[in-house]
């Protein structure tokens, strides 16, 4: 979706605000929401793609006004209800429904290292052939999907060259919506800065963007 999260190329944000000696978490609640978010993923009620999309669904003005981890709080509150782990009444009262069964956590201290070391699924599966090869000229499709996508707006309709083939990955545009993993090749595609931004930028510079097969067409 063409959301506010798709920030590449926006202007007017001013200089980067740099914090010296920045702590990992600025308050205890940030660490807790970080940890709960990761632990709840272990229930496998939603994928990383679904979780990313959930943030994109935040109202634009709220997305821009809130801090990074505040968005995570909003998201987890939404996710646990939406995916049936907590009822709306429980969320409102803050207490488990009387007589409800107590679950065993999907992620425990004993299993946490195994879970956290699990890789993101990818492969060199020869059964999924690449549609493009390294060195080939390609164009990012000019599409405007209303669901989740990892094809940034600033690249759409632009031409580049396949620089690397990273192998086969789950396709976020379908996986985020429980419509199958539609595994396909992902490439680093090199776009010249001038192709993306015009003549006002250095002719030497490039942006490399990771692109799934379905984002590309022959140029």
């Amino acid at each position: 979706m063409n959301g506010v999260h798709d920030m590449g190329g926006q202007q007017g944000w001013g200089p980067v605000q740099y914090e010296k000696n920045e702590p990992v978490f600025h308050a205890r609640w940030e660490g807790r929401i970080y940890a709960m978010t990761r632990a709840m993923l272990a229930w496998r009620k939603w994928s990383l793609d679904t979780a990313r999309h959930a943030l994109e669904l935040m109202a634009p003005v709220d997305y821009l006004r809130t801090s990074y981890y505040e968005r995570w709080v909003w998201r987890l509150e939404q996710q646990v209800v939406k995916h049936g782990l907590v009822t709306r009444e429980e969320m409102e009262s803050g207490r488990a429904a009387p007589g409800s069964a107590k679950a065993t956590p999907a992620l425990t201290l004993a299993t946490s290292s195994r879970w956290l070391n699990r890789g993101i699924a990818s492969s060199r599966d020869p059964g999924v052939p690449p549609r493009f090869e390294v060195g080939q000229r390609v164009r990012a499709r000019n599409v405007n999907p209303t669901g989740h996508t990892r094809l940034p707006r600033y690249a759409r309709g632009k031409s580049g060259i396949v620089a690397r083939d990273h192998g086969v990955y789950v396709f976020p545009d379908t996986n985020a919506h429980f419509q199958g993993d539609k595994r396909q090749h992902v490439y680093s595609v090199q776009f010249s800065a001038r192709e993306l931004w015009g003549d006002g930028v250095s002719p030497r510079d490039s942006v490399y963007i990771d692109m799934w097969d379905d984002y590309l067409e022959r140029a």
Partner: protein, 242 residues
């Protein structure tokens, strides 16, 4: 700007930041990245509703048996104390002193990084991009906050912020100038937008004058910012290593 702000920011802080941004934007010539000290902030400013909201959520999830508080403690401890840019710095130092290791690192980063024992979450498909006299690499995630956790830990707020995410791809040289990194015109800038599950880390140039340094001494020079690509590794050390 709000996107770049920490959880503890309040309305006053937001307006102050916005004013500073506007003033800096109006100043001609190169500007330093806006800096402030963590110690400058009053942490009582954390909105109490967030502290309470997160407490309430944790209490409910624990009561329902959905999360294990001890596992949460371990997750926080890992990110605060075990994972961070020191890991990446050791990888870089090893690559500087061991050409065979560097070759493995550039060809198959996950395996080479795992040789040093770093393998957790978000880093399974790491790619190392090498700086040189005529090439400078910069890492960004314009869509969210993708970052190589096992070697750099969690990203700093500025990396996840709107100013960085918006400008890294359209004005990388301007971003670099704000960080005090001035590149000659004949240097090629390569920006890597982490839109998929690949996680990038920059292998910075080894500074001149470090020929006699040990691997450990070299690792101490390597900063997080250099591995994201906003800075170079310098001697003597300067900048932030947090």
């Amino acid at each position: 700007m709000a996107d770049s702000e920490r959880g503890s920011v309040n309305r006053r802080g937001f307006l102050k930041g916005a004013a500073a941004g506007a003033a800096a934007a109006a100043t001609p010539g190169p500007t330093r990245a806006q800096e402030h000290d963590h110690q400058d902030h009053d942490h009582q400013a954390v909105p109490s509703d967030l502290t309470l909201r997160v407490k309430a959520l944790e209490s409910l999830l624990v009561e329902k048996g959905l999360v294990d508080p001890a596992a949460l403690d371990a997750l926080v401890d890992t990110m605060e104390h075990k994972v961070g840019p020191r890991n990446g710095a050791r990888v870089v130092a090893r690559a500087w002193i061991d050409p065979a290791y560097k070759k493995r690192l550039l060809e198959n980063a996950p395996a080479a990084i795992a040789e040093l024992g770093y393998t957790s979450g978000q880093g399974e498909h790491m790619v190392v991009v090498e700086n040189g006299p005529k090439v400078h690499n910069l890492i960004v995630c314009t869509l969210c906050s993708c970052y190589p956790w096992p070697v750099l830990g969690l990203p700093p707020v500025w990396y996840k912020s709107a100013p960085y995410r918006s400008r890294a791809v359209i004005d990388p040289r301007g971003i670099l100038r704000e960080f005090g990194t001035h590149l000659a015109e004949d240097v090629e800038v390569r920006v890597w937008d982490s839109t998929a599950e690949l996680r990038y880390i920059v292998l910075p140039e080894r500074p001149a004058g470090t020929e006699n340094k040990t691997e450990e001494e070299l690792a101490a020079l390597v900063t997080r910012d250099a591995m994201v690509g906003v800075a170079k590794v310098t001697l003597p050390p300067s900048g932030d290593t947090a």
